[in-house]
C-alpha cells in the first residue's frame, strides 16, 4: 500500500507544495506584523526611564499588573483556548506558585525572581496530577470539578499553619528606593509575558497544538485519528499551570504578603476566562488584548465611579456589549471576518 501512496506524480506534489508555500508566504507577509509586538516589548522595557523625569509608579504598576494577567491568561489559553477545557480553578496554581516561592523567600531569603521557574514547575506537576483526575470529564462537569479544586485548595491553605493559614504570611520588602522598588517585578512580569506569548505561539504550531485543536473540535475523532487525547490534555494542563504558577510566585513578593483570600478566589480564575473570551480564545494575541482591555476598562471605571458596585456593573456591561459584536472575542471575530489588523495577527 505504501508503494501505491508514496509514488504519486512527484512533479505534481512538488508543484502543489511550492504553490502552497508561496501562497502561505504571501499571506503571512500580507497579514502578519511581528514587528508590532517586538516594538511594544521594546517600549515597555524602556518605559521605566520615565522615572528619571518624575514618579510614574502608578503607570508602572498598571503595566506590571496587566503583564501579570497576560502571563496567566496566555497560560490559561493553552488549556481553555487550544484544548477547549474551561477551567475556573487556575487560581490554585497561582497560589501554589505564590506560596512555594513566598515560603522560600520568608524562610531562606531567596528572591522569588530566582525561584519563579521552580514554582512554575511545581504548579505544572500539580497540574499534571490534577489533570489526570479532572480531565476525564469535559464541558460543565469539568468546569464544576475545577471550582471544586479551588474550594478544596482554599480549605487546605486556610488551615495549613506552616504557611500561615488564613492569617497569611508576611514577606520581606525589598530595600530599593520607592521610585525603583517596582522595577524588579516590572521587568520580571514583562519578560515573563513576552516569554509566555512566544511559548504559546510555539505550542500552537507544534504537534501538541495541532492535537489540542483537533480534540477541542471533536475528541472522539481526534482519539480515532491516533491522538492520545488524555496525554495531550494533561500536558496542556501542566503547561498552562506552569505559567500561572510562575506569575503567582512573583506576584506574592510584589504584594509582600500571602493570604488565601488574595490568591484562592474565583475572581482570579474568572478574570483569566473573561480576558481570553474577550480577546479571542485560542488565538495568540487574544489573551494579551483581553488583559489590556479588562484591566484598562476596570481601572477606568474605578477611577470614574470609585471602587463600588457600579464599577463592576460598568465593566460587565462593556463586556456584554463587546461580546455581542465580537462573539469570538476581538481577535477571533476580526480574524473570522478577515478584518484583523496586521498588528494583531500574532498567530
Amino acid at each position: 500500500m505504501a508503494a501505491t501512496l508514496h509514488t504519486p506524480d512527484a512533479g505534481a506534489v512538488l508543484a502543489a507544495r511550492k504553490a502552497h508555500d508561496e501562497k502561505l508566504a504571501k499571506r503571512a507577509d500580507q497579514t502578519r506584523a511581528t514587528w508590532f509586538p517586538v516594538t511594544v516589548l521594546a517600549v515597555l522595557l524602556a518605559l521605566p526611564l520615565l522615572q528619571f523625569t518624575g514618579n510614574y509608579n502608578y503607570l508602572l504598576h498598571l503595566v506590571l499588573f496587566t503583564a501579570s494577567y497576560v502571563v496567566m491568561a496566555a497560560g490559561w489559553n493553552i488549556l481553555g483556548g487550544f484544548a477547549g477545557y474551561v477551567s475556573l480553578g487556575h487560581a490554585v496554581f497561582f497560589a501554589i506558585g505564590g506560596y512555594f516561592s513566598g515560603v522560600l523567600l520568608a524562610r531562606f531569603g531567596i528572591s522569588t525572581l530566582l525561584t519563579a521557574p521552580l514554582a512554575g514547575l511545581l504548579a505544572a506537576v500539580c497540574g499534571y496530577l490534577i489533570g489526570l483526575i479532572t480531565l476525564k470529564v469535559r464541558g460543565p462537569s469539568f468546569i464544576i470539578s475545577s471550582i471544586a479544586l479551588l474550594m478544596i485548595a482554599r480549605i487546605l491553605f486556610d488551615h495549613w499553619t506552616f504557611i500561615g493559614g488564613a492569617n497569611g504570611l508576611a514577606l520581606p520588602i525589598n530595600d530599593l528606593p520607592v521610585l525603583w522598588a517596582k522595577l524588579p517585578y516590572y521587568y520580571a512580569f514583562i519578560l515573563m509575558a513576552a516569554f509566555t506569548v512566544w511559548a504559546t505561539y510555539r505550542i500552537k504550531h507544534s504537534k501538541l497544538g495541532l492535537g489540542l485543536r483537533a480534540l477541542s473540535k471533536d475528541e472522539i475523532k481526534a482519539e480515532s485519528a491516533g491522538i492520545d487525547t488524555r496525554f495531550y490534555k494533561v500536558v496542556a494542563f501542566a503547561l498552562s499551570a506552569f505559567f500561572v504558577g510562575m506569575a503567582g510566585a512573583v506576584w506574592g513578593e510584589y504584594l509582600t504578603y500571602l493570604r488565601p483570600n488574595i490568591f484562592l478566589i474565583i475572581l482570579v480564575s474568572a478574570n483569566l476566562v473573561l480576558m481570553c473570551i474577550l480577546g479571542g480564545k485560542g488565538t495568540i494575541a487574544g489573551p494579551a488584548i483581553g488583559a489590556i482591555l479588562i484591566v484598562g476598562i476596570n481601572e477606568l471605571f474605578v477611577a470614574t465611579m470609585g471602587a463600588s458596585e457600579l464599577n463592576l456593573f460598568g465593566t460587565g456591561l462593556v463586556m456584554a456589549v463587546a461580546l455581542m459584536f465580537f462573539p469570538l472575542g476581538v481577535v477571533g471575530t476580526l480574524a473570522r471576518k478577515g478584518k484583523l489588523p496586521r498588528i494583531l495577527n500574532w498567530d
Binding site: L5, A16, H20, G211, K221, E223, S224
Partner: protein, 248 residues
C-alpha cells in the same frame, strides 16, 4: 488478520451486537451489511474501541486489541472513518490529514505541527485521491463528497494495515461513488485490507471478496457475494426484496 469473537454490546436491555463473530482476511475487501439497526456501526465502534464492548474479543494480527484505547488501535494499524464525516472544522484539509500522522513520546509533541516530509506525504495522498486542489481549504467549506475523500486521505496518513470504512459512498453522487470505489480497489490492490459498511448492495456485491451479514446484532451469514446472495436466511432477513427486484 482481524478476528472478531463473540462480540457483544448491550445498551441496557437492547442488544445492539449480540455475539457477533467473523474474520477479515488479509488483503481482502470484506463488507459488513445488514438492515437498519442490525448493529453494523456499533460493531465498527466496538472494533475501533470508540465504544467499549460489553464482552467478546477483537484480535488484530494475533494480538488482542479490544482492551486498548482508540489511539493505540490506530497505532497498531487499524484506522476508521465515521458514517457522518467528522472533519475538524476550522482546520484546513491538510491539517485534517496530517493530524493523523504519528507522534512519538513527549518530545514529539513539541515538533513542528507540519514537517516538510509530512506535507509531502499528505500532498501525495491528496494527489492520489485527486483532491490536491482543496488541500488548503477549511474543513467546513467542503462538500459532503469532499469530506468523504478527506476522511479517506486522513486514514492513509497513519499507514494503516486495515481500514474500516463506514458508508464511504453514503450520500455521494454516482460519479463520485465510482471514484471512491476506484480508490478502494486501488488501495486494496496495493495490499491494504478493507472492512466496509455500506447500504448500496450493487456496490457491495461487485466490490467485496467476502460479505458478512448481520441482523438483530448477530451474524446470520458470511461468505462470498454469490453465497450470500443465495442464502435463504439473508434473503428472508434482508436482501430478498432487493434481489427480487434486481431479478425482475
Amino acid at each position: 488478520m482481524l478476528e472478531i469473537r463473540n462480540l457483544c454490546k448491550y445498551f441496557g436491555g437492547i442488544k445492539a451486537v449480540d455475539g457477533a463473530s467473523f474474520e477479515v482476511e488479509r488483503g481482502s475487501i470484506t463488507a459488513l451489511i445488514g438492515p437498519n439497526g442490525a448493529g453494523k456501526t456499533t460493531a465498527f465502534n466496538c472494533i475501533s474501541r470508540t465504544l467499549a464492548p460489553t464482552s467478546g474479543e477483537v484480535w488484530l494480527d494475533g494480538e488482542r486489541i479490544d482492551h486498548l484505547r482508540p489511539h493505540k488501535i490506530t497505532a497498531k494499524g487499524l484506522s476508521r472513518t465515521f458514517q457522518i464525516s467528522r472533519n475538524l472544522a476550522d482546520m484546513t484539509v491538510i491539517e485534517n490529514v496530517i493530524v493523523q500522522s504519528r507522534v512519538e513520546g513527549l518530545a514529539g509533541l513539541f515538533r513542528p505541527a507540519i514537517s516538510p516530509q509530512e506535507k509531502d506525504k499528505a500532498l501525495g495522498i491528496l494527489d492520489f485521491l485527486g483532491i490536491t486542489r482543496i488541500a488548503y481549504e477549511d474543513g467546513h467549506n467542503l462538500s459532503y463528497g469532499q469530506k468523504k475523500l478527506m476522511d479517506l486521505a486522513a486514514l492513509l496518513m497513519s499507514d494503516p494495515k486495515i481500514i474500516l470504512l463506514d458508508e464511504p459512498a453514503g450520500g455521494v453522487n454516482p460519479s463520485l461513488m465510482e471514484e471512491i470505489v476506484g480508490h478502494i480497489r486501488a488501495l486494496n490492490a496495493g495490499g491494504l485490507t478493507v472492512l466496509i459498511v455500506e447500504h448500496n448492495m450493487e456496490l457491495i456485491m461487485r466490490l467485496s471478496h467476502k460479505v458478512v451479514v448481520m441482523a438483530q446484532g448477530r451474524v446470520i451469514c458470511q461468505g462470498t457475494p454469490d453465497i450470500v446472495r443465495r442464502d435463504p436466511a439473508v434473503l428472508e432477513a434482508y436482501l430478498g426484496g432487493v434481489l427480487e427486484a434486481e431479478a425482475a
